[in-house]
């Protein structure tokens, strides 16, 4: 009886102690203090601002933190994740709705640990796992640049995250698992450009955020670093072994592509890569050259997989419908007589990554969504065809163009991919 009592009492105490320890641990894990608000700094060093502008460009801050048609860096862009929809926040120095009260230490903590000034956990869609690898100087420069800009009053939009990811403190567990990595140190035996490229790719550029596959809880699979991922329904290319694949990238092609040019063999970036490339185009060319140097040094662990032709059973497909659709809808820009081809010497569509890729997704996404114009700036544009071509037509067109690009490897599952993409974009 006593022993029973004692036993049960011991058990009870043990449970209680464990619970307290657990709660305390959870508290430690999930609680972060606020960092005191400051008055927004008013004086800045011009040279630092110039450096900071380049860091912010290299970090693609505006790509997510500016809504189309919205104020620069004032947030509001919806980011669709498997766990719900997030809205990017206002990172202008507005006191109430932006980061106007953030001190440099608070900004650094956000960049390296994903904690907001008031102590709440930021979702890892904000790539602090990469930004934590940036240099102290770059973070301080970016901070100065952000704090120097015009304050925009733009309250955060309500995120629409699913349970349980709507409970922010749970991000702490995610951090426990995935938040490591230190500021990058140069590799002595590599060139300066290579080291710069690696820094841009792994630090501010956070390329792996899109170009590595994600695991079930939205973290990059470190074992498959830069081996290709997906974002907003687009395939993000594998960035390793770029020089060795069936449609290889030369340094010149890659530099041009990274800077939003139209390059023979690959075309021009579309989808989420377009704004990234436009950012890179605003930086000195040496930055894209450094990225190219680094990326082209990354060897694929696998042999080139794309070259095995899938033999086509049965009679050759009839592409006459696709050919007619091309004349009707595409040839004005992409036919051999189009000014883009005649005057600018742009490649035929068969010489683009989208049509060379083993997946039809990027081609289909480009046709469905187009390439929007940047108001006031020249550059390639393409209208969206989602309402102009039905799914059968899109399939026929894709099959026809794929046949010209890779006659040995027709795309399988075109119609199901098209249906899936149409559902996603609804």
């Amino acid at each position: 009886m006593t022993s029973h009592f004692l036993k049960s009492r011991t058990l009870w105490i043990s449970v209680a102690v464990l619970a307290v320890i657990g709660l305390f641990g959870a508290f430690l894990l999930m609680w972060r203090p606020a960092i005191d608000p400051i008055e927004r700094p008013t004086t800045f060093d011009t040279a630092q601002l110039q450096r900071g502008a380049r860091v912010v460009e290299a970090g693609d801050c505006a790509v997510c933190h500016t809504r189309p048609g919205g104020e620069y860096l004032a947030g509001g862009l919806p980011l669709v994740t498997p766990f719900g929809t997030l809205f990017s926040t206002n990172i202008t120095p507005d006191k109430q709705t932006g980061i106007g009260q953030w001190s440099l230490p608070a900004f650094k903590r956000a960049m390296r640990q994903g904690i907001a000034r008031d102590g709440h956990f930021l979702y890892p869609a904000f790539p602090y796992v990469h930004y934590r690898r940036m240099s102290e100087g770059d973070i301080a420069d970016a901070y100065a640049y952000l704090m120097s800009g015009p304050a925009v009053h733009a309250p955060a939009l309500q995120n629409q995250m699913n349970f349980p990811m709507n409970i922010r403190p749970l991000v702490s567990f995610w951090n426990l698992l995935f938040l490591h990595g230190e500021p990058l140190k140069p590799v002595a035996e590599r060139s300066e450009a290579w080291n710069r490229g690696r820094y841009l790719v792994d630090g501010p550029g956070h390329c792996a955020g899109c170009h590595s596959p994600l695991n079930l809880i939205g973290a990059e699979k470190s074992s498959e670093y830069l081996q290709g991922g997906s974002v907003d329904g687009w395939n993000a290319l594998a960035l390793i072994g770029m020089g060795q694949r069936a449609n290889p990238w030369s340094r010149e092609q890659l530099v041009g592509y990274l800077r939003a040019d139209v390059v023979d063999g690959h075309g021009t970036p579309a989808g989420p890569m377009r704004p990234v490339s436009l950012s890179l185009a605003r930086l000195p060319a040496s930055e894209a050259e450094a990225i190219a140097e680094y990326l082209l040094s990354l060897q694929s662990p696998h042999s080139v997989t794309e070259t095995t032709p899938t033999t086509q059973p049965g009679p050759p497909a009839d592409h006459s419908t696709g050919a007619l659709l091309f004349t009707s809808a595409c040839a004005g820009c992409h036919g051999p007589a189009a000014p883009m081809r005649e005057i600018d010497g742009r490649p035929g569509l068969q010489n683009t990554s989208a049509l060379q890729a083993s997946s039809s997704r990027n081609f289909l996404k480009t046709v469905l969504e187009g390439v929007p114009a940047i108001p006031g700036s020249p550059g390639p544009v393409m209208p969206p065809f989602a309402a102009s071509l039905d799914s059968d037509q899109l399939g026929a067109l894709a099959a026809y163009l794929r046949q010209q690009a890779r006659p040995d490897q027709p795309w399988a599952d075109l119609s199901s991919t098209i249906e899936a993409l149409r559902q996603e974009t609804k």
Binding site: A53, G69, Y72, L73, Y145, S148, G149, P150, A151, T327, A331, G335, P336, A337, P339, E342, I343, D344, G345, A373, P375, G376, S377, P378, G379, P380, V381
Partner: protein
């Protein structure tokens, strides 16, 4: 280096005697103003120098107004370019005939029917044709009333007119159509017209809804593009990749074999396809482009060097203004170089024309600005007598100067001659318009201005430009004619004289100056074909002048608007400036970062409409993006004909000039012109509009009409530039006003 880089004191030698001076009266008050050569490039002859407006070239009253049993027909040699001028001219004619506007059938330029008023250009339509109609209509009405008075044997002062009927005190009634039987309208107009008090106007100065808008919002046939003649064939042209190329090979047979193709035309370097259906023509054109092999071609300069190049190319130097003695004393100086890039008209609808060679007469429906000069050019090109060519104006997409309209008409004419009896429609493709329309010239200007004790002293200004007026004075000015196996050469370039000016338009400040040394270097070797586009050189000249005024004021610690007022003696100029100053609350601006306010003023050509503008904007300190928050303008164009029409023109000028000034430049390099479509030539979109625009109209009842369409272009550009300087503390002097085009 230059063929004749010396002075050319006889600049005016090319002007026809007497053409320069014209009597210009709206009210029959003798008031002389200098005018016009921009519209008179070819074919107009001054027959009656003392008559007002275009009556001096077309003095017969029945050239303007004919009255018959079928009603009243009013003729104008001007055309509707999308400015609403047709409605405004109708208002004037109806007012002075004292008939409802709906009683008049107004016909615009047609070489078989209407007076030759040269070109519809230079904000001249109301100034020329409106003034002619104002006087001719009143004189015709007076003749009709006099005829009635004679037949009723009473004094004409006892008669009144209403709705086309003359009424006597005893209830007598005589319609205009009956009265005209007793009148010979085929006679010269008088210099004096019956007076009418502006207070009595029932149509002039009042809004009449535009005649053309209902059809344009409902799919009515409104444009030459919409013409469908029986059996009409569709043509497309195939142009070389750049000027000066030679056709080496072309597989006409394979194009002819395509479905629906009726004919493939090859004449030297000239290529065109003709098909039954428009889509078939497009496909044939594409096939032809693929098969055509070209060689050679003119070198295209590098864009970065264009302004240095302009200063090195062969040019003629024209003195523009040389007044006063240089004081040499200035406590404040401003010296600067200002540049502008090539601009494109960029009409939304590429050029189009329909032609039909039938029974020995070639009829061309065209959106040209000048049917008579075009007729002469086409006749020469086809070696036809001019009377066997008829050009009828039919509206096209908005016209802002010498675009592809004439060349497309020449295309249609050439092709129609190959298929006698069959109408032919030629539609240019977007890239053909963008690559082959004449551009607005790139320019460079250098200013050196001095201020001494608050007074503007020496004003030295030198500008370099290619021509702004390569109008159709011979067949060689028509692009297709240059491509033929027996090609025509363009006539030598001649600038428009002051006071209207060419590249030097508005190069002379209206401000009271101690002395001026203003010269134009007229570059005759054109890297690109250039010609008239709204406001010609005034866009950059006003930009440069107003930037200088601002800089001098700022350096001297004087308010820039006060400095302007201190040097403007014309009360109407002062009035628009003061209205804008007070309306915008000058010089107050918002406290937001990057906010700026800027002011500008000009009187168009120094003889036409007055315009002052102030702009509030923000230049984003980080991105350099410019957002225009508020534009306030005041304009004085004399007697206003249609207040809403004027407002529409002024608003449009503000938006269009903002687009030119903030975004536009033709992109090119040694490889070619890259602005072949809207992706390579971005223009303002809805998201970049000014947030708010206020237009103040300062009416001048009874004063001469001064024209409206182009008065805003220069001042708007200048106000933007001054506001950007105010916002950034940096003086951006290279157009367009983007951060990347300014020196670091």
């Amino acid at each position: 280096m230059s063929e004749s880089n010396g002075l050319n004191p006889s600049r005016r030698a090319f002007l026809r005697g007497g053409a320069l001076l014209m009597a210009f009266t709206l009210m029959p008050v003798a008031r002389r103003a200098l005018a016009d050569t921009e519209v008179d490039t070819l074919g107009t002859v001054v027959l009656a120098p003392d008559l007002p407006g275009s009556l001096r070239t077309n003095p017969f009253l029945d050239a303007w107004i004919r009255i018959g049993a079928d009603g009243i027909t009013v003729y104008t040699g001007k055309v509707e370019l999308g400015t609403g001028v047709k409605t405004a001219l109708l208002q004037i004619a109806a007012e002075r005939l004292q008939v409802p506007a709906s009683a008049i059938n107004l016909l615009t330029a047609d070489t078989a029917l209407t007076p030759n008023e040269g070109y519809t250009a230079g904000s001249h339509s109301i100034f020329d044709s409106g003034t002619a109609l104002y006087n001719a209509a009143a004189q015709v009405r007076e003749m009709l009333v006099d005829a009635a008075a004679r037949s009723w044997q009473i004094d004409s002062s006892l008669l009144s007119t209403r709705d086309g009927v003359i009424e006597g005190p005893a209830g007598q009634r005589l319609t205009y159509a009956d009265a005209v039987k007793h009148v010979d309208v085929h006679q010269y107009a008088e210099a004096q017209s019956p007076a009418m008090a502006a207070a009595d106007f029932k149509l002039i100065g009042h809004n009449l809804p535009r005649l053309d808008i209902p059809a344009k919002v409902s799919g009515g046939a409104a444009f030459v593009q919409d013409m469908r003649l029986p059996g009409m064939l569709h043509a497309r042209v195939i142009r070389p990749p750049r000027p000066g190329c030679t056709l080496q090979a072309f597989d006409a047979a394979s194009v002819e074999a395509l479905n629906g193709v009726v004919k493939v035309i090859r004449d030297g370097n000239y290529l065109a396809v003709l098909a039954r259906d428009e889509w078939q023509a497009i496909k044939a054109m594409r096939s032809g482009i693929e098969s055509a092999k070209w060689s050679g071609g003119e070198a295209i300069p590098e864009a970065a060097q264009i302004h240095d190049l302009l200063k090195r190319l062969p040019s003629r130097r024209y003195p523009i203004s040389n007044t006063g003695n240089s004081s040499g004393a200035a406590d404040t100086r401003f010296k600067a170089r200002v540049t502008k890039q090539y601009l494109m008209h960029g009409s939304i609808g590429p050029s189009c024309a329909v032609a039909w060679f039938n029974d020995g007469i070639l009829t061309v429906w065209t959106h040209t600005q000048g049917v008579y000069p075009l007729r002469a050019g086409i006749a020469e090109m086809l070696r036809l007598p001019p009377e066997r060519v008829r050009c009828i104006h039919t509206e096209g997409s908005g016209c802002y100067g010498h675009n592809g309209a004439d060349d497309a008409a020449a295309d249609a004419a050439l092709i129609a001659m190959r298929v006698p009896g069959t109408p032919v429609r030629v539609q240019w493709m977007r890239e053909q318009e963008n690559l082959w329309e004449p551009y607005s010239s790139a320019m460079v200007t250098e200013v050196d201005a001095g201020l001494s004790q608050g007074r503007l002293q020496d004003w030295t200004y030198e500008l370099w430009t290619t021509p702004h007026n390569e109008r159709i004075v011979n067949a060689g000015r028509l692009l297709p004619a240059r491509l033929l196996a027996r090609p025509f050469a363009s006539a030598p370039s001649v600038p428009i004289a002051q006071p209207e000016g060419d590249g030097d338009r508005n190069a002379v400040p209206l401000y009271d100056l101690g002395s001026t040394r203003i010269n134009m270097n007229f570059v005759t070797q054109m890297p690109f074909r250039t010609s008239a586009m709204r406001s010609l050189g005034a866009h950059i000249n006003i930009f440069a002048i107003e930037a200088s005024i601002d800089e001098l004021a700022i350096k001297a610690g004087i308010d820039p608007v006060a400095l302007r007022l201190a040097h403007l003696s014309d009360p109407r100029a002062r009035a628009v400036v003061e209205r804008v100053r007070d309306s915008i609350g000058w010089p107050h601006k918002s406290s937001e970062p990057g906010a700026g306010i800027g002011f500008a003023f000009a009187r168009y050509k120094n003889i036409m409409g007055y315009c002052a503008i102030a702009v509030k904007l923000r230049v984003h300190p980080q991105t350099g993006e410019i957002r225009v928050d508020h534009v306030v303008t005041a304009v004085d164009v004399g007697q206003i004909v249609s207040p809403d029409g004027l407002r529409n023109q002024v608003e449009g000028g503000i938006v269009q000039s903002a687009s030119w000034t903030l975004f536009e430049k033709v992109a090119y390099d040694a490889g070619g012109i890259r602005s072949y479509d809207w992706s390579g030539y971005p223009i303002l979109r809805f998201t970049q509009l000014p947030k708010k625009v206020d237009v103040h109209l300062l009416d001048q009842p009874g004063e001469p009409f001064l024209g409206a369409a182009e008065i805003v272009q220069g001042p708007m550009a200048a106000a933007l530039g001054n506001a950007v300087a105010n916002a950034t503390g940096q003086r951006w002097l290279n157009l367009p006003l983007t951060r990347s085009t300014q020196p670091a």
